[in-house]
């Protein structure tokens, strides 16, 4: 896979089953984000194939590391979450009553119902991540691609977010998550991909044996 004319990542190959939780570790510049963006279809890999086995494009949820653009964006929590349901609309872009119900349900699921009418820009980093997650749940995402969702969060918020992610995962959603925090992530993922000079891919147990 090419990224700005140099190979960011090569010879990386792995397979996941539905409902897997893959943690991606690796040093800065080892190609973690590149990998995730390629899976999301944001950049084209220079070679190689991706096979989604029946997951539709609209069922892929991608969450970038927080970007600047969103900081002064006028949007209420509800507007942001509700917009996720649009992924399921093909030619008609108005919200149905059912969409609104789904949005309310997911807000509640992530404990954000009290902040429904708050502005997105007034939220803390952790709350924003929850809103974005709720939005992807509204799209009925089957595969979540998360680029360091816990960066910038304090220890408590990190823990909360991780356990929320685990809950979502247990409902059958496949998650691929980049993380810097190996010790915090290793307990609830079931597969590990370590990028480096030599890539490692295997189950959590194999990884633990490897570093022990």
């Amino acid at each position: 896979m090419k990224y700005e004319a140099t190979l960011a990542l090569k010879d990386c190959s792995f397979e996941l089953a539905a409902g897997n939780f893959l943690a991606v570790f690796g040093e800065n510049g080892s190609g973690k984000s590149t990998l995730l963006k390629s899976i999301a279809g944001l950049i084209k890999p220079s070679s190689g194939t991706l096979n989604f086995n029946g997951i539709k494009k609209s069922e892929i949820g991608y969450m970038a590391q927080q970007t600047l653009v969103q900081k002064d964006f006028p949007a209420s929590v509800y507007e942001a979450v509700l917009s996720g349901t649009l992924c399921k609309h093909k030619y008609f872009y108005f919200y149905t009553t059912n969409d609104k119900k789904i949005a309310d349900k997911n807000l509640e699921l992530l404990g954000m119902e009290k902040l429904k009418h708050k502005s997105f820009q007034e939220l803390s980093v952790g709350q924003r991540q929850r809103v974005l997650l709720a939005r992807m749940l509204c799209a009925e995402a089957k595969l979540l691609l998360l680029d360091e969702p816990t960066s910038g969060l304090d220890a408590v918020a990190t823990k909360q977010l991780n356990s929320t992610l685990k809950d979502i995962n247990l409902q059958g959603v496949t998650i691929i998550m980049i993380s810097h925090d190996i010790s915090g992530t290793i307990d609830f993922c079931d597969k590990v991909l370590q990028l480096g000079n030599r890539h490692f891919f295997g189950s959590r147990e194999e990884y633990n044996v490897g570093i022990a």
């Binding site: 279809g41 609209s58 969103q70 872009y93 009418h117």
Partner: protein, 272 residues
């Protein structure tokens, strides 16, 4: 005040200008919000200069400026977005190049042909005298189409502008929406250019959205507020331009600037 308005509306050119102006202000403020949020504000400015260049071609040839300018400016909008996507020339640089070049070409053509006359001056800085009856119909129809398209794609536009990478990952055709916004902006700029002037039309796109964003924090409220604000500023601007006999475009921009400063000040004081 009432007498003034009565006098104002007794002129048919004023009525025409107000009909066109209200339509254009509405559409411009709608399109402005996504453009401002995507950091595309300068596209409006670039396209309006292209609009001036195309006028310079249309006027000496004695052709209807609208019919020449609309397709050409749309083409420029299309090219601008294409250039943005290829990373060889940076987006802001591309806009600057296209904007200056078309201005320069326009000025050259004008000075070689008709020369800097009142007509050209009106195109640059706006005039309420400029609108012809047939143009009113065209403007109303086009504005209605722009408005309808925006309304239809409203939720989707929010979705795309709010988080482009997610929208793209989940299968939305981002290029389509970028192109739609750019093309609609091109059309509105050409129509609005007659009243606002080529140099000032982009303010109609940027100001209302930016002003509303100072105080309001949800997408819907900003959209509604910028529509209302845009129309009010336009009407006030026309009245002021009529009373003090100053170019309409400049007077509308001044009112918009005043409203922006007011909103900015209020948000500063209330600490929002």
């Amino acid at each position: 005040m009432l007498e003034l308005l009565e006098e104002l509306f007794s002129y048919s050119f004023v009525v025409r200008a107000i009909i066109v102006g209200v339509c254009v202000s509405l559409c411009a403020s709608l399109l402005g919000l996504p453009l401002v949020l995507r950091r595309y504000s300068m596209i409006g400015d670039g396209l309006s200069h292209v609009g001036f260049g195309t006028l310079a071609i249309a006027v000496p040839l004695g052709l209807s400026p609208l019919k020449i300018s609309i397709p050409l400016v749309m083409l420029a909008a299309f090219l601008l977005l294409r250039i943005r996507e290829s990373s060889k020339i940076r987006g802001d640089a591309a806009i600057a190049i296209i904007s200056c070049s078309s201005l320069a070409i326009g000025v050259i053509i004008i000075s070689l042909t008709v020369g800097m006359n009142v007509d050209i001056c009106n195109y640059m800085f706006g005039s309420i005298l400029a609108i012809k009856q047939e143009e009113v119909y065209l403007c109303v129809v086009i504005s209605a189409i722009v408005f309808a398209l925006f309304a239809f794609f409203y939720n989707k536009i929010f979705f795309v502008v709010f988080d482009e990478s997610y929208a793209k990952a989940s299968g939305t055709n981002i290029e389509f929406y970028n192109m739609l916004l750019a093309l609609l902006t091109a059309v509105i700029i050409v129509i609005g250019m007659r009243i606002m002037g080529a140099m000032l039309i982009s303010s109609l796109i940027i100001f209302p959205a930016l002003t509303s964003m100072q105080l309001l924090k949800t997408f819907k409220s900003v959209v509604i507020c910028s529509c209302i604000l845009s129309v009010i500023c336009f009407l006030l601007g026309v009245v002021i331009s009529f009373v003090y006999n100053i170019p309409t475009g400049a007077s509308i921009v001044a009112v918009n600037l005043f409203s922006f400063l007011t909103f900015y000040f209020i948000s500063f004081v209330t600490g929002k």
